[in-house]
Amino acid sequence: MSRSERELDDEVEAHLAEAVDDHVARGLSPQEARYAALRDFGGVTQVKQVHREMRSCTFMNWLDFKLGGRMLVRYPGLTVVGGLAMAFAILVGIVIFQFAALFLYPSLPLPNGDRIVQLNLHDLVENETEKRALHDFLSWRDSLRTIDNLGAWRDDIRTLIVAEGDARPAYVAEMSSSGFTAVQGQPLIGRVLTPEDEQPAAPAVAVIGYELWRTRFGSDPNVLGRTVQLGADHSTIVGVMREGFAFPVSHEMWVPLKIAGVDQAPRSGPAITIFGTLAEGETFETAQAELTTHGRRAAVEQKPTHERLEPRVVRYADMMAMNGGQDAVFMLLIYSFIGMLVVLMCGNVGLLLFARAASRESDLIVRTALGAGRGRIVAQLFAEALVLGGLAALVGLAGAALVLRNWAMTFLEINLGRLPFWWDLSLSPASIAAAIVLTVLAATVAGVIPALKITRGMSDRLKQTTAGSGGLRFGGVWTVVIVAQVAVTVVFPAIVWFENVQLGRMQDYNPGFPTDQFLAVSVERDAPVDNDGTTDAAAVEQNARMAATLGELRTRIAAQPGVAGVTFVETLPGGESPERRIEMGYDAAEAGRRNPDAAAPIRWATVVETETNYFELVDAPLLAGRGFTAADAEPGANVVIVDQAFVDNVLLGRNPIGQQLRLVRPGNPAGPSDWYSVVGLVGKLDSGVPYRKGPFAGFYLPSTPERFDNVHMLIRVRSGDPMTVAPQVREIAAGVDPSLRLVQIQRANELAAGMLWVIRLWMSITLAMSSVALLLSLAGLYAVMAFTVSRRTREIGVRVALGGSRRRIIAAIFRRPLIQMGIGVLAGIAFIAFMTFMYPSTEGPGAGQAEGLTLRAIAMQAGYAALMFGVCMLACVVPTRRALNIEPTTALRTE
């Protein structure tokens, strides 16, 4: 029995008892009093029944939902279209919500994860974190009372050499042993690091992660005690962590943080990250208070270094969060965006539900006559929308789970590299709660707005008693909805088309040499432990060492039987070589001839720093002048080689040999660079950005690899798959210098694979959105047409009966959707045109050129618009046929 039922029983019983008391006081016997009380009350059962019925009429009841379910079956088209639209809106909303939560409110999936903290030294003047905090770490470790397990780590990617020929980079954390206790990390076999391991004289040991153990050591149960080479050092493995352990961020190997021999002066030494756990009974506030006291003291005692430093305690998971995870405004923006998306999509569904409700107008009028208030009818239509929304939410959530599981993490990895272990994109309870909120929002927009509209003036229509004779009409809001919908339908495929153009460019991108014969390797080197305050002399020495190392690497790899040659470049083909502003030697003279005060024209070219043997290795044909010689790489040689595109786009056909050019470098206090002489011309050797319109004018600066900002190695193989030489390359690199890291080894023709994946992903997303938009437009137009026809059945019948021309009748019906569609298509095309003009390629040699707005593109757009128009017209065919087939007698009977 329900609570309200029980309460009614109690109330009636109390009523009768009070009445019995009264009657007894007036002299009746208890039994007579009871009869009298029951008689005065009237039928108890009937009263309870009426009460019950009235209660169930309060707002919504089970029947409304049942009716909503029946409506889904009775209008399958609407169910599919409206449901899909709502599901899509909810899916997108949930995915965005999950991403936002990941960046804004991350949490550590660890026991006591919310009590693990990070301690920062914040530089108030520079507004950034001072990472050289070893001095403060040591002082805090000895004195902080509110924080336990205080430890520090520094990040390192090092070459891990497990066996001869097996040298690959590993993500290593040099970490205090307290890191394991702070997060309660347990070893699978062996042990974790201990404070003894951190002693200067302690033997070098390492703990490895589960994945590393599985992939590099073949899950060897006897791995403990094995010695591996880690960069230049050797370490003995003492433990394997359990699966999933990756503290501090995404690490797979741990070595003790030995700080005994390191510079411990204030604001000096290596960059470290300090962590700890809040002590029992302490909070962020008490910890911050203690740290602040410390900071104030340090600011006085160590004024020169600590005056503007403020120690801060933050949640550990906020390390990678945006704005420390506290930015409410940003979150509000994201929520508003999700809300807007749902409102927009469901506004369209509302249009469909309005048309459906309009077709049931007489039914609703009868309900009003029987006493249902406006609120009741609105509640009923809301319940119907809620049923549809609930179904859509299930589909949307399933879709979101699929998207998040299959693509989202890959997307993040491609964009951000290794992801912290606490990033988890599987559906959370918060997302399910968000889905519920979105569903209610969706049902409100799709159900309540049309319901309010249709019930307005219902009682007046009740008096007219002629449903379908006017009164109810599609208002301006729905017109705007349809027009916007059609416009979106026009715009989205244009976006797909642009994406496809980009994709095509990337796929067809031809750097001008046989990339399938090359292996591309990115080379990095372990940073020295304490490289702060490096002097010029030290830098020179470091450069010299690097030059020697890379030289030897080249010689030894080139000596391999399968290798045809090796060269170093600063940017890999297709790797977005930097574009620089340049000035030609003749610019000033020519400008002077036209107008003495005129500035030199702005020109752009991509600059590629290469070794002098680059052109020989990639078989670039020399069209004029000479190739590079070894002397050209010396500082002060100041020569360059340009490509054919440079001659075409910058020199406009002039003879390149002997021309002078320099880099303009605006904003650089040193002013323009020295003048360079062009000594040679190579054929097509595209160095541009693959997804932009090329070819880009490019020129090549001879240099030596140790002077590159980024060092890449191109290895040409004699035959077969270039990947086959990869193991030898790794082995040689480890042998030449264990601190060299071969970060990425790829086939040179697969360099753009990640980028291609992302573009394809975007394309699928836009395609899905276009389909939903198209579906909604068609359904919307259909609904308007069907509605119009049903409204005007009587009129059409009379016209047909009086022999009105079919053409004029059709014209009368079509006028409205035609106008709406026309405006929509025009608005869409106008938007595309606007975007094309607003965002042409603004830099580079193609500056000012409206990208994609060629005659062909315009023709395609026009063709597409016509197609859209036709498809939309199709939506009008069924209702029109229905209208024309109306029998006059039937029409006159439709009331």
Binding site: D10, D40, F41, V50, M54
Partner: protein
């Protein structure tokens, strides 16, 4: 001559409840039924049970509120009281009633009957 015990004018029970609650203050269902009968000089034959759907309706309109309490005899009963919007509704309904009654009275006057 014994007075005719008439039925409650259709639709006016709610108004009677609001007026009674306004005049006397919060009370439980049985007391309310008895008060209405007494105020009418026992001229209204109220089926006391019909009071409860009326009270529910008034509650749904938020014109009265109900909470559990104790009667004079110590029983657990639901006690009803007038809300602020109930008071407003009462003022509105009273004005309307007076107007309608005035109009009808004029017609009776016209036909020579006196009330």
């Amino acid at each position: 001559m014994t007075p005719d015990r008439g039925d409650v004018v259709y639709g006016s029970l709610g108004l009677l409840v609001l007026t009674t609650l306004h005049a006397i203050g919060p009370m439980h269902g049985y007391r309310l039924a008895r008060r209405i009968e007494q105020i009418s000089g026992n001229q209204l034959a109220l089926n006391q049970g019909t009071l409860y759907p009326a009270l529910l309706k008034l509650e749904q309109m938020a014109w009265v509120s109900a909470k559990w309490g104790q009667s004079d005899t110590g029983r657990r009963v639901k006690i009803y009281s007038l809300t602020r919007s109930g008071r407003k509704e009462l003022a509105r309904a009273e004005a309307q009633w007076q107007r309608s009654a005035g109009i009808i009275a004029r017609f009776f006057k016209l036909s020579g009957h006196t009330a």
